[in-house]
Amino acid sequence: MNQPHRHEPLIKLDMVNLHFGQNHVLQNISTELHKGCITTIIGPNGAGKTTLVRVILGLLKPDSGTIWKENNLRIGYMPQKLQVDKTFPLTVERFLKTAQNCNQEQMQAALNDVGASLLLKQSIHHLSGGEMQRILLARALLRDPHLLVLDEPVQGVDINGQLELYNLISRIRDERGCGVLMISHDLHLVMASTDHVVCINHHVCCSGHPEHVTNDPSFTELFGIKGSEQLAVYSHHHNHKHDEQGNVIPEKEHASSSNHKGCC
């Protein structure tokens, strides 16, 4: 859990606290985001996932605690959804240009990257949910970010599209070496394509490798045996055994034996 990190940190949170009125939404949260590393925040509804991301983005100020950011850190943010007023005439092309000054080729390349090559001249008001997600991702990429922040990137996308999108995010990380921070609800799909998991329920319950987290008792407590069972099926690589309840029996050095890219 506290292995030395091979990559330089982009953002460090130290003992961050935030209250909404009487609600102590974020309690002593400390975590780090690293270059070239996919970090996923998971947790039940109302656990403070989105709040934590908004604090990291600077949209909310914590009551106490410190947030360190690398100098000139450029963030590419992909919001959960983007509702543009119908009275605002906007094509995909013009929308991408608001990310930064870029030429036709760069825009087309970004669209090709996210598998939306035919949408350049489309109106933003006529896109499907999945298309909109891809356009938002393309726009975030055009900023050439050090850190990509994705708030539930696969919402409203069908199951095939979800897998594709997660693969795409992994590929972007591999090619560009940027850090990625995601929020996710769905447990098993995201686990396969993440390096570091932070499981929160107002405080950090547990964090580390996906395999490590799914075996953590506090995770089982939070998501129930069903949840961790489901996850185990997807994150192990048939190199360990299950106990009678379906939980994985940890083996020595098991956590580092799987095929993820090795950061964190």
């Binding site: 943010y77 005439p89 094509t91 013009r94 929308f95 109106s123």
Partner: protein, 262 residues
Amino acid sequence: MPDFLIYALLGGLGVAIVAGPLGSFVVWRRMAYFGDTLAHSALLGVSIGFLLDINLNLSVIICCVGLALVLVALQRQRMVATDTLLGIMAHSALSLGLVAVALLEIRVDLMSYLFGDLLAVSPQDLFWIYGGGIAVLLLLKLLWQPLLAITINEELAHVEGVNVPLIRLILMLLIAVVIAIAMKIVGLLLITSLLIIPAAAARRLARTPEQMAIGAGVIGCLSILGGISLSWYFDTPAGPSVVVVSLALFIALYSLPTKQQA
């Protein structure tokens, strides 16, 4: 052509060109009621001008800008919903203005303040319209990208380094200035229509925000030309005639068969 007609045309066209892009923001950001509220404070500005013995154009600008600042501050309190707040301010400001005019025993032609007096535009008014208008257009050009960014999504703009509260405040002040200089043309009860109707009509043809902003300016100019002609040939009140022509253009554009819209 008589002088007063030339002044009316120059004044009207100047206001329409500035009102186009700002009216587009009023439509995009749903600020119509906000504009209306500022306009209603103009009469208060006139009486303050009389009281302090300063230029009336200047005192109206100061009053609109001041009210915009008060609204921004009150919105932060979040005690009263924004539309309730605007409703209170709009009609209180108008009533305060009317009471102040009566108390100070100022002789004003109320009708010309309420519905505009386009044909009485003076060279001095032109100075205010073009001075204020050019300043507003320059700021708009300078801040165009961040203004679009906060209109698309304020959070995204914030993450990408835009100072959202500052840009939002500047937009409100720009609208306040345009309303103050446009009051002479269509009057405080009709100003919002000069902002909204051309922009809404231009939406029909536009595929980008820039096209809509410029298109709104062009449609506004056509409305001014049409309104003044109507007033000249049929002796109708000039301000309302401008609004009627812009409404006709709006209906005509929306009756056209639809093409693919953006």
